[in-house]
């Protein structure tokens, strides 16, 4: 591959895709000894100050959204870490499959020309 990547060349070789781990050992499902009475899992996103986006801080269990928000405040903002909190039921989040990341994120690979650093001839020219 040329130093800047050749856009004509497929970015992910077949070998690279093979590197992705197969799902041979799925995590065992959580055991439930509480008669299905387990509080749902919530993902917590905290905005640390005005003008910034909410960032994932962690997760917690709570019976409903109101409790999840209160618990999130106590758990993730004990030191003024936030000015706003989102809580989202974990099972409402769709995620990309980590095993398929080679194929899924293939498109930008080798397309260095999407970055300003690809264009070197203008080096030294001011305000560019």
């Amino acid at each position: 591959m040329s130093p800047h990547g050749n856009p004509e060349e497929p970015a992910s070789a077949a070998a690279e895709i093979k590197h992705e781990a197969p799902k041979a050992s799925p995590a065992p499902a959580p055991e439930d000894h509480h008669g299905g009475n387990v509080w749902p899992l919530w993902e917590v996103f905290v905005r640390s100050s005005r003008g910034l986006s909410h960032v994932h801080a962690g997760s917690l269990h709570a019976p409903d959204a109101a409790m999840a928000l209160r618990n999130a405040r106590d758990l993730y903002t004990r030191r003024n870490e936030g000015v706003s909190i989102w809580v989202v039921p974990a099972d409402a989040i769709a995620s990309s499959d980590p095993d398929a990341k080679g194929a899924f994120f293939e498109s930008p690979q080798g397309k260095d020309y999407r970055h300003a650093t690809y264009y070197t001839k203008s080096e030294g020219v001011k305000h560019l």
Partner: protein, 341 residues
Amino acid sequence: MAAQNLQSVPDQPAAPQEANAGQGQGQLEADGQAYFDRVMADDSRIEPKDWMPAAYRKTLLRQISQHAHSEIIGMQPEANWISRAPSLKRKAILMAKVQDEAGHGLYLYSAAETLGQSRDQMMDDLIAGKARYSSIFNYPALTWADMGAIGWLVDGAAICNQVPLCRASYGPYGRAMVRICKEESFHQRQGFEILLELSNGTPAQKQMAQDAVNRWYAPALMMFGPPDDDSPNSKQSMAWNIKRFSNDELRSRFVGMMVEQVRVLGLTLPDSEVRFNEDTRKWEHGPLDWNEFKEVLAGRGPCNSQRLERRRQAHDDGAWVREAAASYAAKQVNKQKEYAA
């Protein structure tokens, strides 16, 4: 802490699975192992949905859940002193610290949950006496000076142990440790200040501080775990990039730091054999009573039954709150359904 639970979201149907459907389970395992080995070699991170060896998962689950239990049980020796702290400021500080310990426990339970065990199950194991936690919390906190010694020595040893864990190969564990370490440094400083004030106080106060240091020193050194030649799991944990330094290495570093700090306190370490070995460039300490360590771990320490009983009681006392919250949540859901209908 972090995105770990984002990965615990139920899997989307994935194309590669279909592609692999023709392959045998053995091939899948081999590919997974090769991927895992490469992550280890690159010193990269394993995330919850990645393939991992069963033993790696088991080791992490044991370590993280024990760590979580230690934070939760660790609330007790200090909570014991909240009502008797010598000033309103000290009470407020102690409450903040105990609240932090609860938070640390929750971060760690979340990390452990990504490995496939529910928090309720871990709680049940703790209450049933099936799970272990750090032996240090089975020692009693006898005087106010113990709040100082626990903060300075116990939290100090914990920080020494936990800073390298921020780079543990399992992503969720490392992220939980980053958050915990940030908060833990206040714990050690406040402990140091308690001891410093007592040390600069009346002769009786200074004696109380020295007595607390005398009692907590050896148990704190034992927090790093058995000596390297008697720690069978250490090697594997280091090969898996979970542990970065051996028990003895961390213990020696910790002793070196304490030697410096105890001088500022105007107190002494109860160990006449502490010395810097010029040949190995390491700090050495006197012998530790590893039989006592094993006894305490096996449940025969001064406070084991008291700690577990208290945890059980707190769990039972909180049952009505959990039930009320769950039934309120269910009611609200039903109301919304009726409204929508």
